[in-house]
Amino acid sequence: MESLIEALLNGLVLGLIYVAIAVGLTIVFGTLRLVNFAHGAFYAVGAYVGLVLAGRYGLLAAFVAAPIAVAAFAVLLDRLVLRFFYGKDATSQLLLTFGIALVVEEALRLIFGGTTQRYPVPDALAGSFALGPIQYPAYRLAFALGIIAMLLVVWLIIERTNYGLIVRAGIRDRIMVQLLGGNIRRASTIVFAIGAAIAGLVGAAASPIYSVNPTVGFSFLVPSFVVVVVGGLGSFWGAVLGGLLIGELQSVTTIVFPPASNVVIYLCMALVLLLRPQGLLGESEVIRQS
């Protein structure tokens, strides 16, 4: 029983990481129609920025600087290369962003070496917290609460601000938004930066829990794509639901039937794609326009 509760909590933490990466993927797809294989690289860059800064200036500095640095990196990438590929077919976008992901991964390997690194949990959160019958690491609980708070902020930006209005309208019909005078390009760039910043912040914050190495981008990106597909490409709540589902599924399978823990999420994705191709909360409308 204790181990099951712990697995559920671990699944929540893992799932929230997936949610955060998947939300970035999904809002970028929704607004820019860009399928971004390089999104995992944002997580990795954030993790390494965090690694460097946390050692020198403390964890707080890392959490502030990582999303800003990653957002700047994303905007640069967007202006330099990606913008030429908006509106191109999905295949070209997949190829290009795959190439970018390879280059970023190798650049990180060159700068920081290929070894797996980890930075320590701050003293204040080093202990564990009594949660019913089990003791759970305090940092993980704080991490989960922090991610939930961040997701709420993102959701409020999308739902309650004018930018969010343009973004949501753009997901529906970008031509109409432009006809009505909405600056969808600027909104899109902001969305791209926000998506990247989320991934960068999560990368920095998750690194005391999951270690950092240059391949970490891909290893979180692939399950996050599973999450996006399961939840529905372009849907915020789909990403949330899919992320928690996949995180829990993976974590609980590790306890119940370990050999299947890596296979089960792909099985889940294959089933969803076949039975409900638009994803659990996806709208077929969005897919048809993609």
């Binding site: 820019l32 129609r33 399928v35 290369v81 030429f84 908006y86 509106g87 191109k88 077919d89 999905a90 295949t91 070209s92 997949l94 190829l95 290009l96 795959f98 190439g99 970018i100 390879l102 280059v103 190798e106 650049a107 390997r109 060159l110 970008r174 031509i175 432009q178 891909f218 692939v222 794509f225 599973v226 597909v229 490409l233 050999p259 890596n262 296979v263 792909y266 099985l267 994705m269 294959a270 794609l273 076949l274 191709p277 638009q278 077929s284 897919i287 048809r288 326009q289 993609s290």
Partner: protein, 368 residues
């Protein structure tokens, strides 16, 4: 046989005979030529799918590694007393074709990102199943020390590890490290090239191209697009599985990384750099990338970064690849890679019944 075919075979054979000599002149070794031939076959298989059917798979390592494992398992379990390389390769190829048919019957219903992700998902499943496969697959260690040298031809047994007589190239040095393996691999590559050339010129190839360019229109003309796409997927998987089986026999070992995501990505890179939709593109791309990998990886740790940059440069500046550009088909290739898929009514799912919004969507997308 047509005169064009004869000319194609003769010139290609001359090229393949000269290839290890040229490779030697630029510092490659004999085994590298063999590896390039075998990997080229896999990349050609991948190109059948991407280039001719317009479907981007991120999971072709499942066929490549799968073919390797099947050949090894056949040799070790099914015929330990009388190993026969032909039967092992044939069995592995047929089995990967069956695997591709089974997986394809599910995946070809999807397009674009969904197709790419679903193939990736299946490849990951195969990877983890093989990794957990215990004694049958050897788990993390893979399989090794299966008989792999003797190729029976008629009453004889050819030892593929026997050396080819040294070839003196005067000032360029002497090629003395070639094995009969190269001759075998080069003949195989020659036949595969001939087969793909015939395939693309056949009615099947034409219909596939029509479906790639405009699936809806080809449906109206009366072609069953799903069947053609499935056939392309199976042929592609079988060719890649065949190459995987060859590679396992050449190495005398199979490891789980032959099923990995990096392997899948490598076929994408080879094909894009060389040229999609060209017969020789995958071969040229494989030769360049694998050669650079071997030469540069010893010299500089920057190698993988350079590989990634070459790949990005190819996508941005040479979308029809080296062969496509040199062959004066730049425009056609560009249209194929960037334009054709845009005209499809739905990237996500099969075209819905009823009026498709394709025509209205095209200008919207270009405005983005």
């Amino acid at each position: 046989m047509l005169a064009g075919d004869v000319r194609f075979l003769i010139f290609t054979a001359i090229g393949l005979a000269a290839f290890p000599l040229a490779l030697h002149a630029v510092g490659g070794y004999g085994g590298l030529a063999t590896q390039i031939c075998i990997l080229s076959v896999a990349a050609i298989g991948f190109n059948v799918l991407l280039g001719y059917a317009g479907m981007l798979s991120y999971g072709h390592a499942m066929f490549y590694g799968g073919g390797g494992y099947l050949a090894a398992i056949l040799l070790m379990r099914a015929m330990p007393a009388h190993p026969n390389l032909w039967l092992a390769v044939l069995g592995a190829t047929i089995a990967t074709a069956a695997l591709a048919l089974a997986i394809g019957s599910v995946t070809v219903r999807l397009y674009g990102i969904y197709f790419a992700l679903l193939t990736l998902a299946f490849a990951q499943m195969v990877f983890f199943i093989v990794e957990q496969g215990g004694e049958i697959t050897g788990g993390d260690d893979g399989l090794q020390s299966f008989p792999n040298a003797l190729l029976p031809i008629g009453p004889w047994s050819i030892d593929l590890t026997a050396p080819v007589p040294p070839i003196d190239m005067g000032p360029l040095g002497t090629v003395s490290d070639l094995k009969l393996w190269y001759v075998f691999a080069a003949i195989v590559l020659l036949l595969v090239l001939w087969f793909t050339r015939a395939l693309t010129r056949s009615q099947f190839g034409e219909v596939l191209g029509a479906i790639r360019e405009n699936e809806e229109r080809s449906l109206f003309v009366g072609f069953n697009a799903a069947t053609y796409r499935l056939a392309a997927f199976a042929i592609s998987g079988a060719l890649t599985g065949f190459a995987g089986a060859m590679r396992a026999l050449y190495d005398g070992t199979v490891a789980v990384d032959s099923l990995g995501i990096d392997r899948s990505g490598s076929f994408v890179i080879y094909t894009i750099v060389g040229g999609v939709q060209t017969v020789f593109g995958p071969v040229v791309g494989t030769a360049i990338i694998v050669y650079l990998e071997n030469v540069l990886s010893g010299v500089t740790p920057l190698w993988r970064l350079i590989e990634g940059l070459i790949f990005i440069a190819a996508i941005v500046f040479l979308p029809s690849g080296i062969v496509g550009t040199l062959g004066g088909r730049g425009k056609r290739g560009r249209r194929a890679l960037f334009g054709a898929l845009r005209a499809r009514p739905a990237t996500g799912v099969a075209p819905p019944a009823g009026p498709a919004p394709a025509a209205v969507d095209v200008p919207r997308e270009t405005n983005a």
